[in-house]
């Protein structure tokens, strides 16, 4: 018998307190990473060691929530043991699924821990069902997280071509580039999401007040300059202002957040399995707030998708904490492209 379909709310846990509030506020699953370059949010002060991970798994499981472990960077020839050790540790800790991008690691996980569930990370850049089925046939992946570049129609088309469950980003930071296919950060700073788990790292950031305004630089490269009237944003490379043919503008993307609340009925209709909230680098207070809103929205929509509408209070709450206080449906809404 097919288990009953349910859309899982998957929330970020950058720390044990964030994990707890995510679970307490209704997350079905939380995802976390270890405190090193094995995951794509390798930031100082963030993430778990073996002891906090064990506590986190215990807390989540007691309350009926699942724990996913992100091991979604690509190991280099040297130091790969850190990744394979992390896989061994995940199996020991009773992690419910590991999120991987590197095919060599998937092979290791499948051979060494055949019971461990594998999810394909967004860093795997799988944007079509042939790619997803490749990972399914070779490594038995159960689920794929889709890059934030497909339109909703393309997601629906893709879902018909694969038995693999799909997980989509629903809210939070918006990568304008195909995840796993962006080396902008290593071009400027030497470290990238693929190889080090970081993009536009804080250690490369310099702020400087000049006569022309407040300047943000990454490893010396001017990413943006703000007048006193403007809100300065974190200098993520793809969200800076640059000049093309005499025009200075956000050449790649504005500082904005992804928000797909209004797509919920459609996501349920095509039986998307996971709705992922981005933001392991955000505070427990943020995680609590976002989790609460999405829990309520998913519950209401699941009960009666036809009558679903986005409550202004939800939008207001999410708006307050969004990057640049702006929302977008991103690529799900085709005109964004």
């Amino acid at each position: 018998m097919q288990p009953e379909y349910k859309l899982e709310l998957i929330c970020p846990a950058g720390s044990l307190p964030a994990l707890k509030v995510a679970v307490d506020n209704g997350a079905d699953c939380v995802y976390l990473g270890f405190r090193d370059e094995t995951n794509a949010r390798n930031f100082t002060g963030l993430n778990f060691d073996a002891s906090t991970a064990s506590k986190g798994v215990g807390y989540a499981h007691t309350k009926g929530a699942k724990v996913f472990l992100a091991l979604n960077t690509y190991p280099h020839a040297h130091g790969r043991e850190r990744w394979t050790n992390a896989i061994d540790q995940a199996a020991e800790l009773g992690i419910d699924a590991i999120i991987l991008a590197d095919p060599g690691l998937m092979q290791y996980a499948m051979k060494t821990h055949p019971c461990l569930q594998l999810h394909l990370s967004v860093q795997g850049s799988a944007t079509n069902y042939e790619a997803i089925n490749f990972y399914h046939e070779h490594f038995g992946i159960r689920r794929a997280v889709l890059p934030r570049v497909l339109s909703f129609a393309q997601v629906e088309e893709l879902s018909r071509g694969t038995p693999v469950e799909l997980e989509l980003f629903g809210f939070g930071g918006l990568c304008v580039m195909v995840e796993g296919r962006c080396s902008l950060s290593s071009y400027v700073t030497g470290v990238s999401p693929n190889s080090c788990g970081v993009c536009s790292p804080p250690k490369a950031v310099r702020w400087q007040q000049t006569s022309k305004g407040l300047e943000s630089r990454l490893n010396g490269v001017l990413i943006d300059r703000y007048t006193d009237a403007e809100n300065a944003g974190y200098p993520t490379l793809c969200k800076g202002r640059f000049e093309v043919a005499g025009e200075t503008y956000y050449t790649m993307e504005e500082p904005t957040s992804l928000n797909t609340l209004e797509l919920l009925p459609e996501l349920l209709r095509i039986k998307v399995r996971g709705l992922k909230i981005e933001g392991r680098q955000r505070s427990p207070a943020y995680v609590a707030q976002v989790t609460r809103v999405w829990r309520e929205a998913i519950d209401q929509c699941s009960k009666n998708p036809e009558a679903f509408f986005v409550k202004p209070a939800w939008s207001a709450e999410l708006g307050k904490i969004s990057e640049g206080q702006q929302h977008t449906l991103g690529a799900y809404h085709r005109p964004w492209k």
């Binding site: 042939e130 570049v149 962006c182 902008l184 693929n194 001017l222 050449t251």
Partner: protein
Amino acid sequence: MKLALGPLLYYWPREKLQAYYEEIAVTPVDIVYLGETVCSKRHVMRLADWLDVARMLASAGKEVVLSTQTLIESESDLKSLHRIAENGEFAVEANDMGAVHLLEGRKAFIAGPYLNIYNQQTLDLIASLGAERWVMPVELSLKELQPMLHSISSRIETEVFAYGRLPLAFSSRCFTARFNNLPKDDCRFLCLNDPDGKGMRTREGKPFLVVNGVQIQSALVYNLIGDLDSMINAGVDVVRISPQSEHSAAIIRLFRDCLDQQVSRESALQEINSLLPEASCNGYWHGLPGIEQDLIHGSMQAD
């Protein structure tokens, strides 16, 4: 060491493109990659047209490879992918795991630079599926490549992107259309006006990146002509030169002469400067940010 010309990353009018490859046919390049890898909307060349170019180059003695799209999003992208994968004539470069899925076990293929092969286990795996050559991700360094090639158990050729503006990122958003305030669905193919992409400068006027449809490239030109010895020593089999609108033939000849020791590294480094559309960089190969230039191994040698 063989020389390869990578796939054309820009959108050129048909006549320009055909004239370009006729010129390439008489250069000492060994391998030519053909096909549209950036944007599935670009259509001046259909597969049949690419096959005509491929046959012309093959009859000139070149090894021809058909490259697949990097970003495959829709059913129609998959149909084009099938047609390339199932062409019975030429080898195929897979730039997406979906392409690998169609090729594995059926046909030897080349694992393109976007497959994210970062370690020897993944390289062995790809080789076991039928890859006879792989192209290293551009952000890897010599130091990261060496242990991979030391410890792999498969026989597979290694190709390194060694000249050209670096393909750094792909999106489904078209940045050329965005510049023109047009939606991608009504882009009017304005990238045809930019034979080498559209330059993007920082607000203090420094060349930074290049907009090429859905692709972002480096503005600086990645140039490893000063690093050929380290590539040979590391066991690299093929160096890739990326097409630009002018001087490709001269650049190919210079790399060939350099490899055949017909010109010194020093004069090659000097000579190539006049062929660059922008200043050069070589940071990635030296384990630095890609944008940087390692002076000891690079231009300093020319002094």
